[in-house]
């Protein structure tokens, strides 16, 4: 009787551990996340809005029609328009890997089947012993 109860408890623990292993293995990788984070800290090597120490010889007051190539923080001051138009489309979605869910599901299912099979085995053995 006691052996049977202890056997069932050990079986339950085994099932929990079997499910925990694939769950841990599927944890997010810090390396893959780091590659997605945008490089916020890349400062512009040259401040395009900084006035040139050498004055232009002709018509220095005329504003340059060419937009600055750097990401200087003060370019959004002009109201009414986007001062620097980005290229391409924003990448605003990082989908989770499908294999993560599948792997965990398979591991969990296998552990459940193992636990059920063990329980049936214990019951049969007990019945054979008592008969």
């Amino acid at each position: 009787m006691r052996r049977t109860v202890l056997g069932a408890a050990a079986l339950a623990c085994t099932a929990v551990l079997a499910s925990a292993v694939p769950a841990f293995a599927d944890g997010p990788s810090p390396v893959s996340e780091a590659t997605v984070v945008p490089s916020e800290a890349a400062p512009a090597p040259v401040d395009a809005t900084e006035p040139s120490p050498v004055p232009a010889p002709v018509d220095a007051t005329e504003p340059s029609p060419v937009p600055a190539a750097t990401d200087s923080p003060d370019r959004s001051e002009a109201p009414g328009e986007v001062t620097v138009i980005p290229s391409g489309a924003p990448d605003t979605g990082v989908a989770a890997q499908e294999s993560t869910a599948h792997g965990t599901l398979i591991g969990g299912g296998a552990a459940a089947v193992l636990a059920a099979g063990g329980a049936v085995f214990l019951v049969r053995r007990r019945r054979a012993t008592t008969a």
Partner: protein
């Protein structure tokens, strides 16, 4: 069934339940439906409000889809694309700092993720569910709030991103909310979901 058999089956059931709980760790919550179709283009019927002064956005509320998020500042990535918020569990929206602040005349641009990888849903997970007339409130640094009404929700292929419609100059205060949507290819989405909204009021 004997008491012993009941104990054995109870142990097996408990094990199976525990297995199911453990197996769910880290699974994404994002398997439920992707953005629903496109809404026909429509101009906002809301009355335009007077433009506000410049004040940086600090928060964004969209009651229709349960969004209440801080707003960070975004610039340009080295490849000249717009930066996006970092991939974190506490996902936030980000205001493109080269666009007008919300309430200023022109298109103010705010971006957010639809999903953030293993962390699950992003702050703009249900952006495509917005409908014309839904309210969007941007909280500003000076304590005021700019209230916008949705005029249009579009789902467009990234390959055909409507740069002029999103970033082009307009003569009234407008807001653009951008995220990803559509079918996925690997870990990327094929489309962008873009919400076009116009300022309706400001408070206080």
């Amino acid at each position: 069934m004997t008491p012993l058999s009941r104990r054995a089956f109870a142990a097996a059931t408990t094990a199976a339940l525990l297995t199911g709980c453990g197996g769910g760790h880290g699974t994404p919550r994002s398997t439920a439906g992707h953005p629903t179709g496109t809404t026909p283009s429509a101009r906002s019927s809301a009355k335009p409000a007077r433009a506000l002064g410049r004040s940086l956005p600090v928060g964004l509320e969209i009651p229709a889809i349960g969004v209440d998020t801080p707003v960070i500042r975004l610039g340009l990535a080295p490849d000249r694309t717009v930066e996006v918020p970092p991939i974190t569990a506490d996902d936030r929206a980000g205001w493109y700092r080269h666009s007008p602040t919300p309430g200023q005349r022109g298109p103010s641009v705010i971006l957010g993720h639809v999903t953030v990888g293993a962390h699950g849903d992003g702050v703009f997970r249900h952006l495509a569910r917005l409908r014309r007339g839904d309210t969007i409130t941007a909280r500003l640094e000076n304590g005021t709030a700019a209230v916008f009404a949705v005029g249009d929700v579009r789902t467009v292929a990234k390959a055909d991103f409507p740069t002029e419609a999103v970033y082009g100059a307009v003569d009234r205060p407008e807001l653009r909310l951008i995220t990803c949507g559509g079918p996925r290819s690997g870990d990327e989405y094929r489309d962008n979901v873009i919400v076009f909204a116009a300022l309706t009021s400001a408070s206080p």
